[in-house]
């Protein structure tokens, strides 16, 4: 007899546990307002990444097309994957001295692991993370970028 009661009990306990589960899914079905799916390509205009989001490494330029990179190469040394290559040149500045400046700051986005060491170790804060994340291209050579804009100069007062 006790076995029979246990048998009946197990049926009801089981059913109740199943109904509890149904109540959870049912709640979401009948109250669909709780969905917070982002409809990505449609919400492109409103979509704002967090300001620290590591999308790509950029070199901020001011409106006079000046950057802070002196071409010291610390970022190149610190990069674990050889993502950054610096090609420097030397010019003669206004004071008549020879100065090492940056010719090309090459950044291989395809190799970058976003560890943040280049941005952190840069002594002049010349690098920053950009929030751009749509990096897909058809040709992987396009992932190699030159960060300093053409014709840009070193900002005054940096080093």
């Amino acid at each position: 007899m006790r076995g029979f009661i246990k048998y009946i009990r197990s049926i009801f306990d089981g059913l109740i546990s199943l109904l509890k589960g149904l109540s959870v899914t049912g709640k979401y079905f009948f109250k669909p307002g709780t969905t917070w799916t982002q409809q990505y390509p449609n919400n492109r205009k409103e979509l704002k990444m967090f300001d620290r989001f590591k999308g790509e490494v950029t070199m901020p330029h001011n409106d006079k097309n000046e950057h802070k990179c002196t071409g010291c190469g610390i970022c190149e040394i610190n990069c674990p994957n050889g993502t950054i290559e610096i090609i420097s040149a030397s010019i003669v500045n206004e004071e008549g001295k020879k100065q090492r400046i940056i010719d090309k700051h090459i950044y291989h986005l395809g190799m970058c692991t976003f560890c943040g060491l280049c941005v952190k170790t840069c002594p002049f804060q010349a690098l920053a993370f950009g929030q751009e994340f749509e990096h897909a291209v058809f040709d992987r050579t396009k992932l190699t970028k030159i960060l300093n804009q053409p014709g840009s100069k070193l900002m005054k007062g940096v080093a």
Binding site: L18, G21, T25, G26, Y28, F29, P32, T35
Partner: protein, 362 residues
Amino acid sequence: MKFNIYDLTSFTQWIDSSLRASMSPGWAVAVEMIIIGLVILIFFALIGLFLVYAERKVCALMQNRLGPNRVGPGGIFQTVADLVKLLFVELVPIKNADKILFNLAPFIVIVASIMAIGALPFAKGLQAIDLNIGVFYLMAVSSMGVIGVLLAGWSSNNKYSLIGAMRSGAQIVSYELSVGLALITMVVLAGTMQLSEMIEAQRWGWFIFKGHIPAVIAFVIYIVAGTAETNRGPFDLAEAESELTAGYHTEYSGIKFALFFLAEYINMFIVAAIATTVFLGGWMPLHVYGWDGFNKVMDFIPPFFWFLGKSFGVVFLMMWLKWTFPRLRIDQLLTLEWKFLLPINIFNLLLMAFLVLVGWHW
């Protein structure tokens, strides 16, 4: 001819008589069969597409997401697009597969479900054939699909497929019993196996109300066993995505896979339609004895929509089950059947017979 949406008997008879008037009786039957076949096929495709869409939307809402929403308004053409894609997918040839059985299997599955659809009463007078053993026929035909599943599993030359097929075989053999006993319980109540008569008997109260507790128990058991028979979650052991990758249809691609896929949804619809017919009054509107005004309003809705509405209600119930519960293991599946459903079912049948004998049903 008078086309009456509430009673299609005169319409179907008019088609029959005008056909017979214009040609010999043999030809008339042949033409009728072709017409019925076409109508069923079109219905089959439409209901399949709709159910796939509905399933995706229902599960999306339950899972707190949006579901298909890109192709067409609300994504309603998503399944059409998917079907078109499936039609163009390459049919991958399988090394060492049993070619004949491999190609035959999807058709057996689909033929079984088409045969079941033929006997369903969609509305008053809209029934391809009204057999006097309708319930029996439906039970027999709806379990034929497992042959296709077994063939698919065997002929694929894949161990996953074979395990899936064997599971499916064990599952259907067991759960066929419960489906049968649950339906027999209602046959006892109705006193007939003819579907049209069963529906007529539910004019003043559907069987699930008429039969008191035994009918409710039978309904629950039928839904559980029916879900198991269609290989749907939580009883989808034959497919068991996380264990057997895709079970018996692992090796199928393109249109052959589409047939399996479609058949699953049609089978779900058939199970729901049988439940509707036997438990929920088929196309019969909801009538309450004495409430004439209410009955008039209910009668105003055409029977075809009553039938579809109820069926989709049951389908929704099955989807709800699928998208909530984890999958059972094969031994638990069989334990559930042989240790729980079957004893309860037999007891329930006795109870129903007792009720009918004493005359406590309405």
